[in-house]
């Protein structure tokens, strides 16, 4: 194969490329860790709403999940970025635009709320997977509804859901790349800057891909370890 391309890996280690890459990785990690944390909190709340006895809470939770799952993330980001500030009252809009890091905050809101819908579904199927005997047994010992969830259902379902929660983290990590469209300088954005600045596309995209793949491998290893540590005796272990 005749490639009209000369490699120059050394340029990645010299500024400005080096600085862009390091800042980009830091930004990707910060954005996705924050978004994942917020998504777990909101997602757990929404997921629990859908399990309650109140019909209205269930409908509200279901509506949230359907809306946020069935509109593409990029469209949601655009709405948070271009539309949301315009719908605010005038003073609020001024205050919002006066904030530092508006693109980062926008990406954080958009990514968190989108991922929360997915987490809510995981929570629901995690709780639905619990054998009904667990509920019956816990109630028969006289636990209140709150105690039932706090001491029996939550610890159990959390451990069963570790693989799903880990895969949601990887999804968040990958989805954070979309933040580049609203000007957040994460790692894919950095790779593009290097490409257009020096026409070093292969080197730059390799760094970005390596970041995602290394993170994915790391998450697989850590979660595998965590899963073995917290395995519930008597359940079938994943290979």
């Amino acid at each position: 194969m005749n490639l009209n391309y000369e490699f120059n890996w050394g340029m990645l280690f010299i500024d400005p490329a080096r600085g862009w890459i390091l800042d980009g990785i830091a930004m990707t990690v910060a954005l996705s860790l924050l978004a994942w944390t917020v998504a777990l909190a909101i997602g757990t709340a929404i997921g629990s709403m859908r399990m309650t006895r109140s019909r209205w809470l269930r409908i509200l939770g279901g509506l949230y999940v359907e809306v946020f799952r069935n509109v593409p993330l990029l469209v949601q980001l655009f709405i948070w970025f271009f539309v949301f500030p315009l719908l605010l009252p005038r003073d609020w809009m001024m205050a919002w635009n006066g904030l530092d890091h508006v693109p980062f905050l926008t990406a954080l809101i958009g990514l968190s709320l989108y991922m929360a819908a997915r987490v809510a579904e995981q929570i629901r199927s995690g709780i639905a997977a619990i054998p009904s005997g667990q509920f019956a047994a816990a109630r028969s010992t006289g636990l209140s509804e709150f105690q039932l969830y706090r001491h029996v259902i939550a610890p159990y379902s959390f451990r069963v859901m570790i693989p799903a929660i880990a895969s949601e983290f990887m999804t968040t990590f990958k989805n954070s790349a979309l933040a580049l469209t609203i000007g957040v300088a994460e790692i894919t954005y950095a790779a593009r800057s290097i490409e257009s600045w020096a026409f070093r596309g292969i080197e730059a995209f390799t760094v970005a891909s390596a970041t995602y793949m290394a993170t994915s491998a790391f998450v697989v290893v850590v979660m595998g370890w965590l899963e073995r540590r917290l395995r519930i005796p008597g359940l079938i272990a994943r290979r």
Binding site: N2, P72, L74, F78, V83, L180, A191, F205
Partner: protein, 219 residues
């Protein structure tokens, strides 16, 4: 601020052309990446290591990268590899087909593995070759159990077409963006775009859920 919903009506033909491009991109992607995914899936469960390892590495590599980055890779690489410029559509389509083939491969693989082992053994014992047994006995059964996941994946592909925006392809989101640049009515236009995506994707999701109900009953 006042709303001006007429802007949507005025630009409807343009917007619908964008939507049509999105639908085409999604449809061609599914039509090409599903067969490719089947091939990769067969590689992943093959008893031959020289097939299994490359297929496994390919699937893991693609699934741990974001689609947007794969689109950039192809946008940059395809002209270098072919030695001449190709259009936005061709490079985006190539990226989508390769990327989604990894996801289809995993769906097909779990579908095949949900077929009971005895089915393959019985087919082989009647004298069918491995390829024949897969094609005639295992795949048709696997296909039935993976219909809901396939339908869901089609919705994900359609949502993914928005990412073609980043290389300037005139799909629905990019068309909407261009119209907002010209008319300065982002609120109406983006909300309309979101509504259209919502309706299409919800229909797809509901269809997938119906298939799931059917698959559940058949078992």
């Amino acid at each position: 601020m006042g709303f001006d919903w007429a802007v949507i009506q005025d630009n409807l033909p343009l917007l619908m052309r964008g939507l049509w491009n999105s639908v085409q991109l999604a449809a061609i992607t599914v039509a090409l990446s599903f067969p490719l995914g089947c091939v990769v899936a067969l590689g992943r469960i093959s008893p031959r290591p020289w097939l299994r390892y490359p297929a496994t590495i390919l699937v893991h590599a693609l699934r741990s990268n974001p689609l947007i980055l794969i689109v950039f890779w192809f946008f940059f690489l395809v002209p270098i590899l072919t030695g001449r410029p190709v259009g936005d559509f061709a490079s985006v389509l190539a990226a989508f087909v390769v990327f989604f083939s990894a996801y289809f491969a995993e769906i097909v693989r779990s579908g095949i593995q949900s077929v009971r082992r005895g089915q393959l053994d019985a087919a082989l014992s009647t004298g069918l070759t491995y390829a024949q047994a897969m094609h005639r006995i295992v795949l048709p059964q696997a296909l039935r159990s993976m219909m809901p996941s396939l339908a869901t994946e089609c919705v994900i592909v359609f949502q993914g077409t928005t990412i073609a925006y980043v290389v300037g392809m005139r799909e629905f989101l990019h068309t909407t963006f261009l119209v907002t640049e010209r008319t300065m009515r982002p609120v109406e236009l983006y909300l309309f775009a979101a509504l259209v995506y919502f309706v299409v994707c919800l229909a797809g999701s509901l269809f997938a859920r119906r298939l799931e109900g059917k698959a559940g009953r058949a078992r």
